[in-house]
Amino acid sequence: MKQVSIPSGASLTELYRKWVGDYPKFFKMDTLSKLGFLLTEMLVRDEPDRFTFREDRAVLVFSREGCVANDRHYAESMKDFPSPALFVYTLPNIVSGEISIRNKWGGESSDYVLASYDEARIWDLVRQAFQDKCTQSALVAWIDCTSDNEWVTNAWLVDKTEML
Protein backbone atom coordinates (compact mmCIF):
# COMPACT_ATOMS: atom_id res chain seq x y z
CA MET A 1 0.00 0.00 0.00
CA LYS A 2 1.48 3.32 -1.05
CA GLN A 3 1.55 6.05 1.57
CA VAL A 4 2.57 9.71 1.38
CA SER A 5 2.37 12.81 3.54
CA ILE A 6 3.22 16.50 3.34
CA PRO A 7 5.09 18.04 6.28
CA SER A 8 3.20 20.79 8.08
CA GLY A 9 4.11 24.23 6.77
CA ALA A 10 5.79 22.97 3.57
CA SER A 11 5.52 25.24 0.54
CA LEU A 12 2.59 23.86 -1.42
CA THR A 13 3.45 26.02 -4.42
CA GLU A 14 6.89 24.45 -4.57
CA LEU A 15 5.38 20.99 -4.38
CA TYR A 16 2.92 21.90 -7.12
CA ARG A 17 5.77 23.07 -9.37
CA LYS A 18 7.71 19.90 -8.61
CA TRP A 19 4.91 17.35 -9.09
CA VAL A 20 2.37 19.02 -11.39
CA GLY A 21 2.94 22.43 -13.00
CA ASP A 22 0.16 22.35 -15.56
CA TYR A 23 -3.07 22.75 -13.57
CA PRO A 24 -3.55 26.46 -12.84
CA LYS A 25 -6.87 25.82 -11.06
CA PHE A 26 -4.63 24.71 -8.19
CA PHE A 27 -4.08 28.35 -7.26
CA LYS A 28 -7.79 28.96 -6.73
CA MET A 29 -8.08 26.15 -4.18
CA ASP A 30 -8.14 26.51 -0.41
CA THR A 31 -5.30 24.94 1.55
CA LEU A 32 -7.29 21.81 2.35
CA SER A 33 -7.95 21.16 -1.33
CA LYS A 34 -4.36 21.95 -2.29
CA LEU A 35 -3.18 19.37 0.20
CA GLY A 36 -5.59 16.72 -1.06
CA PHE A 37 -4.74 17.51 -4.65
CA LEU A 38 -0.97 17.24 -4.07
CA LEU A 39 -1.19 14.10 -1.93
CA THR A 40 -3.14 12.43 -4.72
CA GLU A 41 -0.69 13.55 -7.37
CA MET A 42 2.15 12.05 -5.34
CA LEU A 43 0.30 8.75 -5.15
CA VAL A 44 -1.00 8.30 -8.68
CA ARG A 45 1.29 10.33 -10.96
CA ASP A 46 2.88 7.21 -12.42
CA GLU A 47 -0.33 5.26 -12.92
CA PRO A 48 -1.10 4.19 -16.50
CA ASP A 49 -4.22 5.52 -18.23
CA ARG A 50 -4.47 8.57 -16.04
CA PHE A 51 -7.34 10.96 -16.77
CA THR A 52 -9.58 8.27 -18.23
CA PHE A 53 -13.02 8.40 -16.59
CA ARG A 54 -13.40 5.60 -14.07
CA GLU A 55 -16.05 4.77 -11.52
CA ASP A 56 -14.24 2.05 -9.61
CA ARG A 57 -12.09 4.28 -7.43
CA ALA A 58 -13.43 6.01 -4.33
CA VAL A 59 -12.07 9.15 -2.71
CA LEU A 60 -12.41 8.96 1.06
CA VAL A 61 -11.17 11.96 3.02
CA PHE A 62 -11.02 12.16 6.82
CA SER A 63 -10.23 15.00 9.20
CA ARG A 64 -11.15 16.57 12.50
CA GLU A 65 -11.30 20.19 11.45
CA GLY A 66 -12.91 19.79 8.04
CA CYS A 67 -12.71 23.11 6.22
CA VAL A 68 -12.66 25.33 9.32
CA ALA A 69 -9.45 27.08 8.17
CA ASN A 70 -11.18 28.34 5.04
CA ASP A 71 -14.41 29.00 6.96
CA ARG A 72 -12.49 31.62 8.97
CA HIS A 73 -11.42 33.34 5.75
CA TYR A 74 -14.98 33.40 4.47
CA ALA A 75 -16.29 34.66 7.83
CA GLU A 76 -13.86 37.57 7.60
CA SER A 77 -14.91 38.40 4.03
CA MET A 78 -18.56 38.14 5.03
CA LYS A 79 -18.22 41.12 7.37
CA ASP A 80 -17.16 43.28 4.44
CA PHE A 81 -18.13 41.74 1.10
CA PRO A 82 -18.96 38.02 1.08
CA SER A 83 -16.64 36.24 -1.33
CA PRO A 84 -18.25 33.57 -3.52
CA ALA A 85 -14.77 32.24 -4.33
CA LEU A 86 -14.17 31.58 -0.64
CA PHE A 87 -17.72 30.39 0.06
CA VAL A 88 -17.54 27.46 -2.35
CA TYR A 89 -14.67 26.07 -0.29
CA THR A 90 -16.65 26.22 2.96
CA LEU A 91 -17.61 22.57 2.50
CA PRO A 92 -15.40 19.77 3.83
CA ASN A 93 -15.97 17.70 0.69
CA ILE A 94 -14.74 20.16 -1.91
CA VAL A 95 -11.30 18.62 -1.54
CA SER A 96 -12.59 15.24 -2.70
CA GLY A 97 -14.43 17.00 -5.53
CA GLU A 98 -11.19 18.65 -6.66
CA ILE A 99 -9.43 15.28 -6.60
CA SER A 100 -12.26 13.65 -8.54
CA ILE A 101 -12.30 16.41 -11.17
CA ARG A 102 -8.55 16.40 -11.71
CA ASN A 103 -8.40 12.63 -12.11
CA LYS A 104 -11.81 12.06 -13.77
CA TRP A 105 -12.79 9.71 -10.99
CA GLY A 106 -16.56 9.31 -11.05
CA GLY A 107 -16.78 6.80 -8.23
CA GLU A 108 -17.80 7.47 -4.65
CA SER A 109 -16.43 10.57 -2.96
CA SER A 110 -17.09 10.88 0.74
CA ASP A 111 -15.84 13.07 3.55
CA TYR A 112 -15.85 12.10 7.19
CA VAL A 113 -15.12 14.02 10.35
CA LEU A 114 -13.71 12.13 13.33
CA ALA A 115 -12.87 13.33 16.84
CA SER A 116 -9.17 12.61 16.35
CA TYR A 117 -6.68 10.79 14.16
CA ASP A 118 -7.52 7.15 14.61
CA GLU A 119 -6.15 4.78 12.01
CA ALA A 120 -8.13 1.79 13.19
CA ARG A 121 -11.32 3.81 12.83
CA ILE A 122 -10.32 5.11 9.41
CA TRP A 123 -9.69 1.59 8.12
CA ASP A 124 -13.00 0.37 9.55
CA LEU A 125 -14.80 3.09 7.60
CA VAL A 126 -12.76 2.41 4.46
CA ARG A 127 -13.56 -1.28 4.68
CA GLN A 128 -17.25 -0.36 4.94
CA ALA A 129 -16.96 1.87 1.86
CA PHE A 130 -15.80 -1.16 -0.11
CA GLN A 131 -19.28 -2.62 0.37
CA ASP A 132 -20.09 -0.63 -2.77
CA LYS A 133 -19.64 -3.35 -5.37
CA CYS A 134 -18.30 -0.88 -7.90
CA THR A 135 -15.39 0.27 -5.75
CA GLN A 136 -12.16 -1.60 -6.41
CA SER A 137 -9.64 0.87 -5.05
CA ALA A 138 -9.66 4.01 -2.94
CA LEU A 139 -7.68 7.13 -2.36
CA VAL A 140 -7.77 7.46 1.41
CA ALA A 141 -6.52 10.59 3.15
CA TRP A 142 -6.36 12.11 6.59
CA ILE A 143 -6.02 15.85 6.00
CA ASP A 144 -6.39 17.91 9.13
CA CYS A 145 -5.76 21.50 8.20
CA THR A 146 -5.98 23.93 11.11
CA SER A 147 -4.60 26.95 9.25
CA ASP A 148 -2.89 27.85 5.98
CA ASN A 149 0.45 26.65 7.30
CA GLU A 150 -0.43 24.00 9.87
CA TRP A 151 -1.68 20.56 9.06
CA VAL A 152 -1.30 16.84 9.57
CA THR A 153 -1.62 14.62 6.53
CA ASN A 154 -1.39 10.99 5.56
CA ALA A 155 -2.66 9.50 2.33
CA TRP A 156 -2.83 6.01 0.96
CA LEU A 157 -3.86 4.30 -2.24
CA VAL A 158 -5.49 0.98 -1.40
CA ASP A 159 -6.91 -1.88 -3.38
CA LYS A 160 -10.00 -3.76 -2.33
CA THR A 161 -7.91 -6.92 -2.06
CA GLU A 162 -5.86 -5.29 0.70
CA MET A 163 -8.99 -4.60 2.70
CA LEU A 164 -10.47 -8.07 2.77
Binding site: G97, G106, E108, Q128
Partner: protein, 448 residues
Protein backbone atom coordinates in the same frame (compact mmCIF):
# COMPACT_ATOMS: atom_id res chain seq x y z
CA UNK B 1 -26.53 -9.29 2.65
CA UNK B 2 -27.89 -8.08 5.99
CA UNK B 3 -31.16 -6.24 5.64
CA UNK B 4 -31.28 -2.83 7.24
CA UNK B 5 -34.54 -1.42 8.54
CA UNK B 6 -35.70 1.97 9.71
CA UNK B 7 -37.20 1.36 13.13
CA UNK B 8 -37.53 4.89 14.46
CA UNK B 9 -37.90 8.42 13.16
CA UNK B 10 -37.69 11.87 14.68
CA UNK B 11 -38.41 15.25 13.14
CA UNK B 12 -38.08 18.89 14.07
CA UNK B 13 -39.46 21.10 11.31
CA UNK B 14 -41.08 24.53 11.03
CA UNK B 15 -44.37 22.88 9.99
CA UNK B 16 -44.50 20.47 12.91
CA UNK B 17 -42.62 17.68 14.59
CA UNK B 18 -45.01 14.72 14.60
CA UNK B 19 -44.67 12.92 11.25
CA UNK B 20 -48.44 12.87 10.84
CA UNK B 21 -48.54 16.63 11.28
CA UNK B 22 -45.65 17.16 8.87
CA UNK B 23 -47.24 14.87 6.30
CA UNK B 24 -50.52 16.73 6.57
CA UNK B 25 -48.71 20.02 6.03
CA UNK B 26 -47.00 18.74 2.90
CA UNK B 27 -50.24 17.31 1.54
CA UNK B 28 -51.98 20.63 2.15
CA UNK B 29 -49.11 22.64 0.67
CA UNK B 30 -48.60 24.42 3.98
CA UNK B 31 -45.15 25.84 4.62
CA UNK B 32 -43.56 28.24 7.09
CA UNK B 33 -41.76 30.42 4.57
CA UNK B 34 -41.42 34.13 5.06
CA UNK B 35 -39.09 36.96 4.19
CA UNK B 36 -36.37 37.65 6.79
CA UNK B 37 -34.11 40.64 7.21
CA UNK B 38 -30.62 39.76 6.05
CA UNK B 39 -27.12 41.21 6.13
CA UNK B 40 -28.26 43.48 4.53
CA UNK B 41 -30.12 41.70 1.73
CA UNK B 42 -33.37 40.05 2.84
CA UNK B 43 -33.87 36.34 2.27
CA UNK B 44 -36.86 34.06 1.99
CA UNK B 45 -36.61 31.03 4.24
CA UNK B 46 -38.32 28.35 6.29
CA UNK B 47 -36.85 28.73 9.77
CA UNK B 48 -37.60 27.16 13.14
CA UNK B 49 -39.09 29.21 15.94
CA UNK B 50 -36.37 30.00 18.48
CA UNK B 51 -38.64 31.84 20.86
CA UNK B 52 -38.00 30.73 24.40
CA UNK B 53 -34.84 28.88 23.52
CA UNK B 54 -31.98 29.81 25.83
CA UNK B 55 -29.49 26.98 25.54
CA UNK B 56 -25.92 27.32 24.32
CA UNK B 57 -26.59 25.97 20.81
CA UNK B 58 -29.81 25.77 18.85
CA UNK B 59 -28.15 23.36 16.43
CA UNK B 60 -27.23 20.96 19.24
CA UNK B 61 -30.72 21.37 20.64
CA UNK B 62 -32.66 20.40 17.53
CA UNK B 63 -30.27 17.59 16.59
CA UNK B 64 -30.71 16.07 20.04
CA UNK B 65 -34.45 16.53 19.99
CA UNK B 66 -34.87 14.71 16.67
CA UNK B 67 -32.44 11.99 17.73
CA UNK B 68 -34.16 11.40 21.06
CA UNK B 69 -37.52 11.12 19.39
CA UNK B 70 -36.17 8.51 16.98
CA UNK B 71 -34.45 6.57 19.75
CA UNK B 72 -37.60 6.63 21.82
CA UNK B 73 -39.69 5.43 18.92
CA UNK B 74 -37.22 2.65 18.19
CA UNK B 75 -37.19 1.64 21.83
CA UNK B 76 -33.45 1.05 21.86
CA UNK B 77 -30.90 1.78 24.55
CA UNK B 78 -28.65 4.39 22.94
CA UNK B 79 -25.83 3.55 25.33
CA UNK B 80 -25.56 -0.03 24.13
CA UNK B 81 -22.15 -1.27 23.06
CA UNK B 82 -23.45 -2.08 19.57
CA UNK B 83 -25.21 1.23 18.96
CA UNK B 84 -23.49 3.77 16.69
CA UNK B 85 -24.08 7.40 15.81
CA UNK B 86 -23.72 9.14 12.44
CA UNK B 87 -24.23 12.90 12.23
CA UNK B 88 -25.01 14.65 8.98
CA UNK B 89 -24.53 18.38 8.81
CA UNK B 90 -22.84 20.84 6.56
CA UNK B 91 -22.12 23.77 8.81
CA UNK B 92 -23.13 22.68 12.31
CA UNK B 93 -22.52 25.52 14.76
CA UNK B 94 -20.84 27.79 12.20
CA UNK B 95 -22.66 30.88 13.48
CA UNK B 96 -20.34 30.78 16.50
CA UNK B 97 -17.13 30.72 14.47
CA UNK B 98 -15.71 33.79 16.19
CA UNK B 99 -15.96 32.34 19.67
CA UNK B 100 -16.33 28.56 19.79
CA UNK B 101 -14.99 25.26 18.51
CA UNK B 102 -17.23 24.96 15.46
CA UNK B 103 -15.72 21.72 14.20
CA UNK B 104 -18.31 19.15 13.23
CA UNK B 105 -16.42 16.70 15.46
CA UNK B 106 -17.31 18.82 18.48
CA UNK B 107 -20.97 18.89 17.44
CA UNK B 108 -20.99 15.10 17.10
CA UNK B 109 -19.41 14.71 20.51
CA UNK B 110 -22.05 16.92 22.10
CA UNK B 111 -24.80 14.94 20.42
CA UNK B 112 -23.29 11.62 21.50
CA UNK B 113 -23.11 12.82 25.09
CA UNK B 114 -26.67 14.08 25.02
CA UNK B 115 -27.91 10.74 23.74
CA UNK B 116 -25.66 8.70 25.97
CA UNK B 117 -24.07 6.98 22.98
CA UNK B 118 -20.90 5.22 24.11
CA UNK B 119 -19.34 4.38 20.76
CA UNK B 120 -17.39 6.97 18.78
CA UNK B 121 -19.56 9.03 16.44
CA UNK B 122 -18.72 9.80 12.84
CA UNK B 123 -19.79 12.86 10.86
CA UNK B 124 -20.54 12.53 7.17
CA UNK B 125 -20.22 15.94 5.56
CA UNK B 126 -20.76 15.58 1.85
CA UNK B 127 -22.37 18.93 1.05
CA UNK B 128 -26.07 18.72 0.17
CA UNK B 129 -26.11 14.92 -0.06
CA UNK B 130 -24.83 14.57 3.53
CA UNK B 131 -28.08 13.16 4.92
CA UNK B 132 -28.33 10.54 2.23
CA UNK B 133 -24.64 9.67 2.57
CA UNK B 134 -25.08 9.42 6.34
CA UNK B 135 -27.96 6.96 5.94
CA UNK B 136 -25.81 4.92 3.57
CA UNK B 137 -23.01 5.04 6.11
CA UNK B 138 -25.41 3.76 8.74
CA UNK B 139 -26.44 0.90 6.46
CA UNK B 140 -22.82 -0.02 5.89
CA UNK B 141 -21.97 0.07 9.60
CA UNK B 142 -24.76 -2.39 10.32
CA UNK B 143 -23.70 -4.59 7.41
CA UNK B 144 -20.15 -4.60 8.78
CA UNK B 145 -21.55 -6.71 11.61
CA UNK B 146 -20.14 -4.43 14.30
CA UNK B 147 -23.42 -2.71 15.15
CA UNK B 148 -27.03 -3.62 15.81
CA UNK B 149 -28.42 -0.11 15.59
CA UNK B 150 -27.20 3.14 14.09
CA UNK B 151 -28.73 6.49 15.00
CA UNK B 152 -28.46 8.73 11.94
CA UNK B 153 -29.11 12.40 12.65
CA UNK B 154 -29.21 15.28 10.20
CA UNK B 155 -29.55 18.90 11.22
CA UNK B 156 -28.97 22.37 9.90
CA UNK B 157 -29.61 25.85 11.23
CA UNK B 158 -29.31 28.89 9.04
CA UNK B 159 -27.00 31.80 9.74
CA UNK B 160 -25.44 34.87 8.23
CA UNK B 161 -22.54 32.63 7.14
CA UNK B 162 -24.69 30.38 4.96
CA UNK B 163 -27.21 32.93 3.75
CA UNK B 164 -24.66 35.52 2.62
CA UNK B 165 -22.69 32.76 0.94
CA UNK B 166 -25.63 31.59 -1.14
CA UNK B 167 -26.50 35.21 -1.86
CA UNK B 168 -22.95 35.80 -3.11
CA UNK B 169 -23.50 32.90 -5.51
CA UNK B 170 -26.85 34.40 -6.57
CA UNK B 171 -28.46 31.07 -5.74
CA UNK B 172 -31.35 32.28 -3.57
CA UNK B 173 -34.84 33.16 -4.70
CA UNK B 174 -36.71 35.97 -3.00
CA UNK B 175 -39.94 34.11 -3.72
CA UNK B 176 -41.22 30.64 -2.85
CA UNK B 177 -39.00 28.22 -4.76
CA UNK B 178 -40.42 26.39 -7.78
CA UNK B 179 -38.78 23.01 -8.26
CA UNK B 180 -38.67 21.89 -11.90
CA UNK B 181 -40.85 24.82 -12.94
CA UNK B 182 -40.20 26.90 -16.04
CA UNK B 183 -40.02 30.04 -13.89
CA UNK B 184 -37.78 28.68 -11.16
CA UNK B 185 -35.20 31.21 -10.07
CA UNK B 186 -33.31 29.74 -7.15
CA UNK B 187 -33.55 27.99 -3.83
CA UNK B 188 -34.83 28.92 -0.37
CA UNK B 189 -32.86 27.89 2.68
CA UNK B 190 -34.52 25.97 5.46
CA UNK B 191 -33.93 24.67 8.97
CA UNK B 192 -34.78 21.24 10.28
CA UNK B 193 -33.50 18.24 12.14
CA UNK B 194 -34.35 14.67 11.26
CA UNK B 195 -33.24 11.34 12.62
CA UNK B 196 -33.66 7.68 11.87
CA UNK B 197 -32.68 4.63 13.83
CA UNK B 198 -31.44 1.96 11.47
CA UNK B 199 -31.33 -1.60 12.62
CA UNK B 200 -30.49 -5.09 11.57
CA UNK B 201 -33.58 -6.13 13.47
CA UNK B 202 -37.05 -5.29 12.25
CA UNK B 203 -38.38 -5.67 15.77
CA UNK B 204 -36.82 -2.95 17.84
CA UNK B 205 -38.65 -3.16 21.10
CA UNK B 206 -40.46 -6.32 21.87
CA UNK B 207 -40.82 -7.19 25.50
CA UNK B 208 -43.08 -10.13 24.66
CA UNK B 209 -41.57 -11.77 21.62
CA UNK B 210 -43.83 -13.88 19.45
CA UNK B 211 -43.15 -16.10 16.50
CA UNK B 212 -41.18 -15.02 13.45
CA UNK B 213 -44.34 -14.95 11.37
CA UNK B 214 -45.38 -11.98 13.43
CA UNK B 215 -43.76 -9.60 11.01
CA UNK B 216 -44.12 -11.57 7.84
CA UNK B 217 -46.83 -9.18 6.72
CA UNK B 218 -49.07 -11.85 5.23
CA UNK B 219 -52.07 -11.65 7.42
CA UNK B 220 -52.28 -8.68 9.72
CA UNK B 221 -54.98 -10.32 11.79
CA UNK B 222 -52.68 -13.13 12.74
CA UNK B 223 -49.85 -10.82 13.49
CA UNK B 224 -51.32 -9.33 16.57
CA UNK B 225 -52.67 -11.97 18.90
CA UNK B 226 -55.24 -10.53 21.27
CA UNK B 227 -52.93 -10.86 24.19
CA UNK B 228 -50.18 -8.78 22.70
CA UNK B 229 -52.12 -5.55 22.32
CA UNK B 230 -50.28 -3.74 25.11
CA UNK B 231 -46.72 -4.42 24.06
CA UNK B 232 -47.64 -3.73 20.50
CA UNK B 233 -48.85 -0.30 21.48
CA UNK B 234 -45.60 0.42 23.22
CA UNK B 235 -43.38 -0.75 20.45
CA UNK B 236 -45.21 0.52 17.47
CA UNK B 237 -43.66 3.63 15.98
CA UNK B 238 -47.00 5.26 15.25
CA UNK B 239 -48.02 5.22 18.88
CA UNK B 240 -44.94 6.92 20.10
CA UNK B 241 -45.42 9.84 17.83
CA UNK B 242 -48.52 11.12 19.51
CA UNK B 243 -49.15 14.71 18.63
CA UNK B 244 -48.81 15.78 22.23
CA UNK B 245 -45.40 14.31 22.82
CA UNK B 246 -43.54 16.37 20.26
CA UNK B 247 -45.38 19.63 19.91
CA UNK B 248 -44.11 21.41 23.02
CA UNK B 249 -40.56 20.52 22.20
CA UNK B 250 -39.43 23.89 20.96
CA UNK B 251 -41.24 25.90 23.56
CA UNK B 252 -40.43 26.68 27.14
CA UNK B 253 -37.68 25.26 29.25
CA UNK B 254 -35.33 23.05 27.24
CA UNK B 255 -34.84 20.84 30.27
CA UNK B 256 -38.45 19.85 30.08
CA UNK B 257 -38.24 19.11 26.43
CA UNK B 258 -36.10 16.05 26.78
CA UNK B 259 -37.35 14.05 29.69
CA UNK B 260 -34.89 11.19 29.92
CA UNK B 261 -37.61 8.63 30.24
CA UNK B 262 -40.38 10.20 28.29
CA UNK B 263 -42.14 7.18 26.96
CA UNK B 264 -45.21 8.11 28.97
CA UNK B 265 -46.76 10.76 26.77
CA UNK B 266 -46.56 8.42 23.85
CA UNK B 267 -48.71 5.90 25.61
CA UNK B 268 -51.27 8.34 26.90
CA UNK B 269 -53.00 9.43 23.74
CA UNK B 270 -56.32 8.22 22.57
CA UNK B 271 -55.87 4.88 20.84
CA UNK B 272 -58.27 6.08 18.19
CA UNK B 273 -55.78 8.71 17.20
CA UNK B 274 -52.94 6.30 17.29
CA UNK B 275 -54.29 4.06 14.60
CA UNK B 276 -56.49 6.33 12.58
CA UNK B 277 -56.48 4.16 9.48
CA UNK B 278 -57.13 0.78 10.95
CA UNK B 279 -58.78 1.07 14.29
CA UNK B 280 -62.09 2.43 15.41
CA UNK B 281 -62.19 0.51 18.66
CA UNK B 282 -59.73 1.11 21.46
CA UNK B 283 -58.85 -2.55 21.75
CA UNK B 284 -57.91 -4.96 20.42
CA UNK B 285 -55.89 -3.01 17.94
CA UNK B 286 -55.11 -4.62 14.63
CA UNK B 287 -52.60 -2.43 12.88
CA UNK B 288 -52.22 -2.21 9.16
CA UNK B 289 -49.42 -4.09 7.50
CA UNK B 290 -47.74 -0.74 7.06
CA UNK B 291 -47.34 -0.28 10.77
CA UNK B 292 -45.84 -3.68 11.46
CA UNK B 293 -43.57 -4.14 8.52
CA UNK B 294 -40.74 -1.61 8.64
CA UNK B 295 -39.11 0.21 5.78
CA UNK B 296 -35.87 -1.18 4.49
CA UNK B 297 -33.00 0.80 3.00
CA UNK B 298 -32.06 -1.65 0.30
CA UNK B 299 -28.89 0.01 -0.92
CA UNK B 300 -27.38 3.30 -1.88
CA UNK B 301 -24.60 4.86 -3.88
CA UNK B 302 -22.58 8.05 -3.94
CA UNK B 303 -21.01 9.08 -7.25
CA UNK B 304 -19.01 12.09 -8.31
CA UNK B 305 -19.58 14.02 -11.54
CA UNK B 306 -15.83 14.63 -11.81
CA UNK B 307 -16.82 17.82 -13.56
CA UNK B 308 -17.07 20.99 -11.46
CA UNK B 309 -17.01 21.88 -7.75
CA UNK B 310 -20.08 24.14 -7.78
CA UNK B 311 -21.96 23.26 -10.96
CA UNK B 312 -23.68 20.00 -11.76
CA UNK B 313 -22.72 17.87 -14.73
CA UNK B 314 -24.53 18.74 -17.94
CA UNK B 315 -24.96 15.03 -18.60
CA UNK B 316 -26.14 14.18 -15.08
CA UNK B 317 -23.22 11.79 -14.89
CA UNK B 318 -22.89 11.20 -11.16
CA UNK B 319 -26.62 11.23 -10.50
CA UNK B 320 -27.23 8.79 -13.34
CA UNK B 321 -24.44 6.50 -12.17
CA UNK B 322 -25.79 6.51 -8.61
CA UNK B 323 -29.29 5.71 -9.93
CA UNK B 324 -27.97 2.96 -12.16
CA UNK B 325 -26.24 1.35 -9.20
CA UNK B 326 -29.22 1.31 -6.84
CA UNK B 327 -31.69 0.27 -9.53
CA UNK B 328 -29.76 -2.72 -10.76
CA UNK B 329 -32.33 -5.49 -11.04
CA UNK B 330 -35.16 -3.15 -10.05
CA UNK B 331 -38.02 -2.37 -12.43
CA UNK B 332 -39.14 1.23 -12.77
CA UNK B 333 -42.67 -0.18 -12.42
CA UNK B 334 -41.93 -1.04 -8.81
CA UNK B 335 -41.27 2.57 -7.81
CA UNK B 336 -44.02 4.70 -6.33
CA UNK B 337 -41.93 7.79 -7.05
CA UNK B 338 -38.49 9.33 -7.08
CA UNK B 339 -38.13 12.02 -4.44
CA UNK B 340 -35.58 14.27 -6.10
CA UNK B 341 -33.27 17.00 -4.81
CA UNK B 342 -35.28 19.65 -6.69
CA UNK B 343 -33.62 22.75 -5.28
CA UNK B 344 -35.28 24.93 -7.93
CA UNK B 345 -32.00 26.27 -9.26
CA UNK B 346 -31.82 26.21 -13.06
CA UNK B 347 -28.89 23.85 -13.20
CA UNK B 348 -29.77 21.32 -10.52
CA UNK B 349 -33.25 20.51 -11.75
CA UNK B 350 -32.16 20.33 -15.36
CA UNK B 351 -29.35 17.96 -14.43
CA UNK B 352 -31.70 15.71 -12.47
CA UNK B 353 -34.11 15.56 -15.41
CA UNK B 354 -31.31 14.36 -17.65
CA UNK B 355 -30.17 11.78 -15.12
CA UNK B 356 -33.72 10.48 -14.59
CA UNK B 357 -34.26 10.14 -18.33
CA UNK B 358 -30.95 8.39 -18.81
CA UNK B 359 -31.93 5.97 -16.06
CA UNK B 360 -35.24 5.22 -17.80
CA UNK B 361 -37.32 6.85 -15.07
CA UNK B 362 -39.10 9.45 -17.19
CA UNK B 363 -42.49 7.85 -16.54
CA UNK B 364 -42.06 7.39 -12.80
CA UNK B 365 -43.71 10.12 -10.70
CA UNK B 366 -41.18 12.61 -9.42
CA UNK B 367 -41.65 14.95 -6.49
CA UNK B 368 -39.60 17.52 -4.61
CA UNK B 369 -40.20 18.83 -1.10
CA UNK B 370 -38.09 21.99 -1.13
CA UNK B 371 -41.25 24.04 -1.76
CA UNK B 372 -42.37 23.10 1.77
CA UNK B 373 -39.14 22.86 3.79
CA UNK B 374 -36.68 24.85 1.71
CA UNK B 375 -33.21 23.44 1.37
CA UNK B 376 -32.46 22.00 4.79
CA UNK B 377 -28.97 20.95 3.73
CA UNK B 378 -27.57 18.40 6.20
CA UNK B 379 -31.09 17.45 7.30
CA UNK B 380 -32.54 17.17 3.79
CA UNK B 381 -31.66 13.56 2.97
CA UNK B 382 -33.12 12.24 6.20
CA UNK B 383 -36.10 14.60 6.45
CA UNK B 384 -37.20 14.02 2.86
CA UNK B 385 -36.72 10.26 3.19
CA UNK B 386 -38.87 10.13 6.33
CA UNK B 387 -41.64 12.20 4.73
CA UNK B 388 -41.46 9.98 1.64
CA UNK B 389 -41.83 6.82 3.74
CA UNK B 390 -44.82 8.28 5.55
CA UNK B 391 -46.39 9.32 2.25
CA UNK B 392 -45.96 5.84 0.85
CA UNK B 393 -47.52 4.43 4.01
CA UNK B 394 -50.49 6.74 3.43
CA UNK B 395 -50.70 5.53 -0.18
CA UNK B 396 -49.87 8.84 -1.81
CA UNK B 397 -47.29 10.44 -4.04
CA UNK B 398 -46.84 13.89 -2.52
CA UNK B 399 -47.33 17.02 -4.59
CA UNK B 400 -44.44 19.26 -5.63
CA UNK B 401 -45.25 22.58 -4.06
CA UNK B 402 -44.27 25.44 -6.37
CA UNK B 403 -44.34 23.48 -9.61
CA UNK B 404 -46.87 24.36 -12.29
CA UNK B 405 -45.24 24.34 -15.73
CA UNK B 406 -42.59 21.89 -16.95
CA UNK B 407 -39.27 23.65 -16.96
CA UNK B 408 -36.81 20.88 -17.76
CA UNK B 409 -35.88 19.20 -20.99
CA UNK B 410 -36.27 16.29 -21.46
CA UNK B 411 -39.39 16.32 -19.34
CA UNK B 412 -39.96 14.15 -16.31
CA UNK B 413 -43.22 13.06 -14.71
CA UNK B 414 -43.40 15.76 -12.02
CA UNK B 415 -46.16 15.13 -9.53
CA UNK B 416 -47.78 18.55 -9.36
CA UNK B 417 -50.79 17.32 -7.42
CA UNK B 418 -51.09 14.51 -4.93
CA UNK B 419 -51.68 11.11 -6.51
CA UNK B 420 -52.58 7.75 -5.12
CA UNK B 421 -50.15 4.88 -5.13
CA UNK B 422 -50.15 1.34 -3.84
CA UNK B 423 -46.47 0.82 -4.52
CA UNK B 424 -44.09 0.35 -1.63
CA UNK B 425 -40.70 1.39 -2.93
CA UNK B 426 -39.12 4.71 -3.81
CA UNK B 427 -35.79 6.30 -4.61
CA UNK B 428 -34.34 9.30 -2.77
CA UNK B 429 -32.04 11.39 -4.91
CA UNK B 430 -29.70 14.25 -3.94
CA UNK B 431 -26.83 16.21 -5.46
CA UNK B 432 -24.41 18.76 -4.10
CA UNK B 433 -21.34 20.93 -4.39
CA UNK B 434 -18.12 19.06 -4.84
CA UNK B 435 -19.81 17.18 -7.69
CA UNK B 436 -21.44 14.66 -5.35
CA UNK B 437 -24.63 12.79 -6.11
CA UNK B 438 -26.41 10.13 -4.15
CA UNK B 439 -29.29 7.71 -4.51
CA UNK B 440 -30.96 5.46 -1.95
CA UNK B 441 -33.52 2.75 -2.63
CA UNK B 442 -36.21 2.31 0.04
CA UNK B 443 -38.58 -0.63 0.06
CA UNK B 444 -41.25 -1.75 2.41
CA UNK B 445 -40.45 -5.17 3.78
CA UNK B 446 -42.08 -7.89 1.73
CA UNK B 447 -42.90 -5.64 -1.26
CA UNK B 448 -41.65 -6.77 -4.66
Amino acid sequence: MTKVYCIGCGLVTPVGNAPSEVLSAVRAGKSAFRLYDGWPEPYYASLLDREGFEGPSFFDHIALQAARTAVQEAGIDASGARVGLVLSTIKGNIEKIDTDDVSLAAAAETLAQGLGVKTKPVVVSNACISGLAALLQGVRMIRSGAYDHIIVVGAEVQSRFIVTGFQSLKALSLNPCKPFDADRDGLNVGEAAAAMVLSAHPVPFDPHPVSENYFSGRDPKNQFPETSTEPALQGDPKNQFSETSTEPALQGDPKNQFPETSTKPALQGDPKNQFPETSTKPAPVIPSEASVSPWEIVDGAVRNDANHISGPSRTGEGSYNALRYVLEGVSAEELAFVNVHGTATRYNDQMEAIALNRAGLQEVPVNALKGIFGHTMGAAGILESIVSMKACDAGVVLPTQGFSQMGVEPAVNVSAQERKTDKKAFVKLLSGFGGVNGALLFRKGGAR
